[in-house]
Symmetry: C2
C-alpha cells in the first residue's frame, strides 16, 4: 500500500477538544495531573474516541488507557496527564497523532495500530509511573505506596478511577512502539528544522555535593584565613567547566541548579554549601568519565581549600538507545516528508519510550517547540509542524505494515 | 603618678559575676539581648557596682548606663547586651575593664574615669543603637520606632526599663573615649600576639546584585543555548577575585555570603540569581575603587552572558579613623606591657567607638579571640590575655592623667 492518508482537520479538532478538558492558566495552558477529575475526564473522552475508531478501550491497574486493535499491532502513543502547570501538547500530541494514524490506517486497510495514553508520565507520584509499572521497571506494590508532594498515596488517588481499572494488556501483542512528542528544547526551532529522530533517551546522573569550611565574621576574618564554602563552589564550577571540554559532545549537558549556602547572611563568611550537580548524556561510558572528573575535582578543591567534602548518593538513570531499525524507518519517513529539514538527535528529557524500549523495539519522533518552552502554560508549536509530524508518523507506520 | 594598680582578682570576679546573669547555651554562653530581663538585671547589677566604685550611675533615654566620675573625666566602656546567642566577653570585657580601671584610679588618686555600657550595641533594633543616638548619628525619634525581627517596637521594649530612663549625659564632660574589646577575629590568636591597637574601624559597602537569564529544562537545553544565572555568578566571582588583587591590602575583605538561585531545582537551568556582595576597608577611597570594579565587572558579565543586571541600593558605612594621639598612647602602653607582642590593626567589625569618635578623641584596644570565634556561645579568651588587656588600659589611662 501507499502512505496512509490522515485527516488533518479531524486530528487538529481532536487535539483542541482534548485541550479543552482541564484548560487553565494563560494561552493554551492545561492542568490535568494524574488521577485528577480533568485527567479522568480526558481518558473517558479518549476511550469514546478509541471505540469510534474501532479500537477496544481498556484501562490497566495504573489507569493507563489502551485502545486495542485486533491481533498483533503497532503501538503508538504517549500520555494525557500534564504537569501542575502544563501545555496542550506535552503528551497529548503523541496520543492524538496515534489515534488519527490508527483511525486512518483502519480506514485505508493499513496495518493494525493500537493507541496508548500512559498514566502519570509527568510524575505526580514517581517518574513515568504508568509505563514504568507496565514494563516491569517498577513493581505494582511499590507504585501503590508512592506519595505525591502533598502526601497523597497513589493507591488512594487512583481509587477515583474506580471500576475502570483492572485490564491486563500483554506487551507481546505489540510489534513495536513509536512515541511522537514535542522536543521540549530549542534545537529544532533554532535550526528551522521540522523533525527530530531520537537516537537515544539520555541517561541522567545527579549528585548532591557539600563543602564544609568555617563559618566566620565577614568583617574580622582576613581573606587568607578564610575557608569560604561559596568560594569552594565557585572554584569547583570553574574547574569542572574547564575539564569537561575534553570529554563532552555538543549534546552533553550539565547543571548546577540548586545551591544552598549556610548560614546565608551578608555579613557571615559561609561555612557550608550544598549544591546539585546533574549531568546527562546518551552514552553511559561518557557519564562515567564525567563522574570521575567530578569526584576528583571535588576532592582536589576540598583538599586545596580546607573543606570537608560530602558526596551524596548518586541518582542514576541509564541512557536508552532507540531501536536502530525503527529509527531508520522514521528517518526515511522524515526525509520523504521534509527532505533535509530533519536531524538525528538525543532526547534530553525522559519519556514513556524509555520504559517501553525494554519490552519491544521503540523509537521517538520530535516536532519543534517554539522557543524551546515546555512544562509551562505557554508551551506551543505551529500547527503546520504538528501536521508534518503526523504525516511522518503515518509514513513510518505505512512502511511497517 | 605611676601606673594605676588594678586588682586582677576583683576584675575577673566581676567579669564572671556578670556572665552569670543570662548564662545560657553551652560553655560560657550568655543570652542578654537589649531590654530583655537579663539585660536589665545586668545593668542594675552594674549600677550597684558603679555606685560602690564612687561613680554616679545614670541611664539615658535609650537605656545606656553611665557611671559618672565628678568633673571632666576619661570615658571607658563598651556594652553589656549580647547577641541572641552570645559569648561572655563581647562588650562585657570592655565594661568590666572600664569599671576596674575607674575603681583603681580613684583608689590611687589617679585621673577621674567614667564608665559606660551602651544599649543595643548588638543591634536587636538597629546597629550600635544606643551609642548612635547618644552621638546624634541616629535621631531619638527614628530610634523609638525601630522594630526587632519579631516586629516589636523599640519604644515598647524599652518601657521595661521604666523609671530608670531619662538622664541627660553631655558628651562635653568627657575628654576621650577608649573601648577595649575582644578582636572577634583570628589575627592576634594566630600570630601569638596579645594586643591590637585599632587604627580604624573599617567602612562597609554592601550591595545585592541580581542576574536574570533564562530558566530552562536542564535536559533539553544545549549548553550553547543556555543563559544560566549560576554560571554568571560564578564567572563574576572569579573575575572579581582576580581584579581585586591589584587594589586590595591584606586587611581588605570581601564576601559573597548570601546566594538565592531561582527556581533552585536540580533539573532546571537557573534563570535568576540574587546574591550579596559586601566589602570592607579602612580607606574610603579604596572602597570606591572596589565599587567601580564591581559595577564594571557585573555589567561585563551581564553583557557577555546575556543577563539582565540589577544592582540594588548600596549600604554604606564610612570608615572611622581612631584618634592619632590616643592611638599613640595605647601603642606606648602596649609596648610597655608586652614588648614586640602587639600590632596596629583595623577593626573589621563595627563598635560603639565608631559613633563616639564623632564626639571626642576615641580609640580601641583588642585582645585575642581564641580561634577568632565570636557571636557564638563558644567565644573565649585566655584569662591571662584579658588581664594583659586590662593592664595596658590602666597604663594608657595613667598616661592620660
Amino acid at each position: 500500500m501507499g502512505v496512509i492518508e490522515v485527516d488533518v482537520a479531524r486530528f487538529l479538532q481532536d487535539l483542541h477538544a482534548l485541550r479543552a478538558i482541564g484548560a487553565a492558566g494563560v494561552g493554551k495552558g492545561v492542568v490535568r495531573p494524574a488521577y485528577s477529575k480533568a485527567d479522568i475526564a480526558a481518558r473517558d473522552w479518549l476511550a469514546v474516541r478509541m471505540r469510534d475508531a474501532g479500537l477496544a478501550p481498556v484501562f490497566d491497574d495504573m489507569g493507563s488507557l489502551f485502545g486495542l486493535a485486533s491481533g498483533r499491532s503497532v503501538l503508538l502513543g504517549s500520555h494525557t496527564d500534564t504537569q501542575p502547570e502544563g501545555g496542550w501538547l506535552d503528551g497529548a500530541l503523541g496520543v492524538i497523532a496515534a489515534l488519527e494514524v490508527a483511525r486512518a490506517s483502519r480506514e485505508a486497510g493499513g496495518p493494525p495500530v493500537s493507541v496508548v495514553s500512559f498514566q502519570d508520565e509527568e510524575g505526580r507520584f514517581g517518574v513515568t509511573t504508568g509505563s514504568a509499572v507496565w514494563s516491569g521497571v517498577l513493581s505494582a506494590m511499590q507504585a501503590a505506596q508512592l506519595q505525591d508532594k502533598d502526601g497523597v498515596i497513589l493507591d488512594a488517588a487512583r481509587a477515583a478511577m474506580g471500576a475502570r481499572l483492572g485490564a491486563r494488556v500483554y506487551p507481546a501483542r505489540f510489534s513495536a512502539f513509536v512515541e511522537m512528542h514535542i522536543e521540549q528544547g530549542p534545537v529544532l526551532d533554532q535550526a528551522g528544522e521540522k523533525i527530530g529522530v531520537v537516537e537515544a533517551i539520555v541517561g541522567i546522573r545527579d549528585m548532591t555535593i557539600s563543602f564544609t569550611g568555617q563559618q566566620n565574621h565577614a568583617g574580622t576574618t582576613p581573606m587568607a584565613l578564610r575557608r569560604d564554602a561559596f568560594q569552594a563552589l565557585s572554584a569547583f564550577n570553574s574547574v569542572i567547566n574547564d575539564r569537561f571540554r575534553n570529554i563532552v559532545t555538543p549534546d552533553t549537558v550539565w547543571t548546577i541548579g540548586f545551591v544552598e549556602l549556610h548560614p546565608g547572611a551578608h555579613s557571615i563568611v559561609p561555612g557550608r554549601v550544598r549544591f546539585s550537580m546533574q549531568w546527562r548524556d546518551g552514552d553511559a561510558e561518557r557519564l562515567a568519565r564525567m563522574e570521575a572528573v567530578i569526584r576528583e575535582t571535588a576532592e582536589e578543591i576540598a583538599s586545596e581549600m580546607g573543606m570537608a567534602l560530602e558526596l551524596g548518593d548518586m541518582l542514576g538513570i541509564e541512557p536508552v538507545a532507540m531501536d536502530a531499525e525503527l529509527r531508520n524507518v522514521l528517518a526515511v519517513a522524515a526525509e520523504g516528508e521534509v527532505p533535509g529539514k530533519w536531524r538525528h538527535m538525543p532526547s534530553g528529557a525522559l519519556h514513556d519510550a524509555s520504559n517501553v524500549a525494554g519490552l519491544m523495539p521503540a523509537a521517538m519522533l520530535f516536532v519543534p517547540s517554539i522557543g524551546g518552552i515546555s512544562h509551562a502554560f505557554d508551551e506551543d508549536t505551529d500547527e503546520a509542524d504538528l501536521v508534518t509530524g503526523l504525516q511522518v508518523l503515518a509514513r513510518a507506520v505505512s512502511a511497517l505494515g
